[in-house]
Amino acid sequence: MDYRDSETDAEPRGFVEPGQVQTLAASTTAAVKVVIVGGFGVGKTTLVGALSEIRPLTTEETMTQAGVGVDDVAGVERKTSTTVAMDFGRISLNEQLVLYLFGTPGQERFWFLWNGLFDGALGAVVLVDTRRLEVSFDVIGRLEERGVPFVVAVNAFPQAPVHPVAELRASLDLPDSVPIVDCDARDRGSCRDVLLTLMRYLHTLAASPEQS
């Protein structure tokens, strides 16, 4: 089975053009990451692109059915490996610190097989399209299972039904503490506010760990 995310129009595959690589400032000492999750076509790449200081790039991982690393030569004859692509961008926050944003691909079950994607992430943003709310259930369940803190951002699509927050919260079965915000994934300011909401939420959790 071969799966490739067609959602991306990022990097032309296959080679590096001289000058295409934009390195970080030499003084950058550490990175943090946030994962953007949501169903196919919900606007994850748009959100990453709106915030990123570089044109969004695509990285990929090859996974076997069992969901571990590269399966040596076994894949040569029995094409059991799956390629999962992921778009990402970055924001240099100050001279030392850079934030990476990873937008996960369309088929939910693969993200959670990606070793290290959620490990050490500050948190996640669940991007929701109210026209297809059901795809968010599985994602939210898996994040809760893994203990990854998250906020929900509702991408404002034209013609999408407008749900009052309370109704959405009930539909998604979210506790009152989890922030739900509206956003426009094309708008930088709006996307930045989503990340700020996540950081404030994490700050609240970290300041009062007994409530988490």
Binding site: G14, V21, A31, N94, M199, H203
Partner: protein, 119 residues
């Protein structure tokens, strides 16, 4: 900066097997994260494997492992093995990411918020 004008077209498993000399994962101590930052500490040599040389050229200033994977069009697991070679011989330096433990540190979150507010 110049990078090899090579096309990394064929990403079939055979090719990946050759690049990593058959290794599917790096030694335990050399595990890098998607956002570990890599900086070159040596200059590329003609005798080097082209992928190693390309990484050294690219990382004249810090670059994340995810970016190296994207620019080389190679899967993360393959890049991880290549980086383990370079790390073992001190040809690159790795700057480990800040790992959010159970809950991230308040000062770190404040630094992130401060940076975002300037966007």
């Amino acid at each position: 900066m110049t990078l090899p004008n090579q096309r990394w077209h064929n990403s079939g498993p055979e090719r990946l097997y050759v690049i990593t000399a058959g290794r599917s994962r790096p030694p335990e101590e050399a595990v890098v994260d998607l956002v570990t930052l890599i900086v070159a500490r040596a200059t590329p040599q003609p005798s080097m494997q082209p992928e190693h040389a390309a990484i050294l050229r690219m990382c004249h200033a810090p670059l994340s492992v995810a970016e190296i994977s994207a620019h080389l069009s190679l899967p993360m697991s393959v890049v991880t093995v290549l980086l383990a070679d370079l790390l073992a011989t001190d040809r690159v330096e790795a700057r480990a990411p800040i790992q959010a433990a159970r809950l991230p540190d308040l000062e770190l979150l404040e630094a992130v918020m401060h940076g975002l507010q300037r966007l």
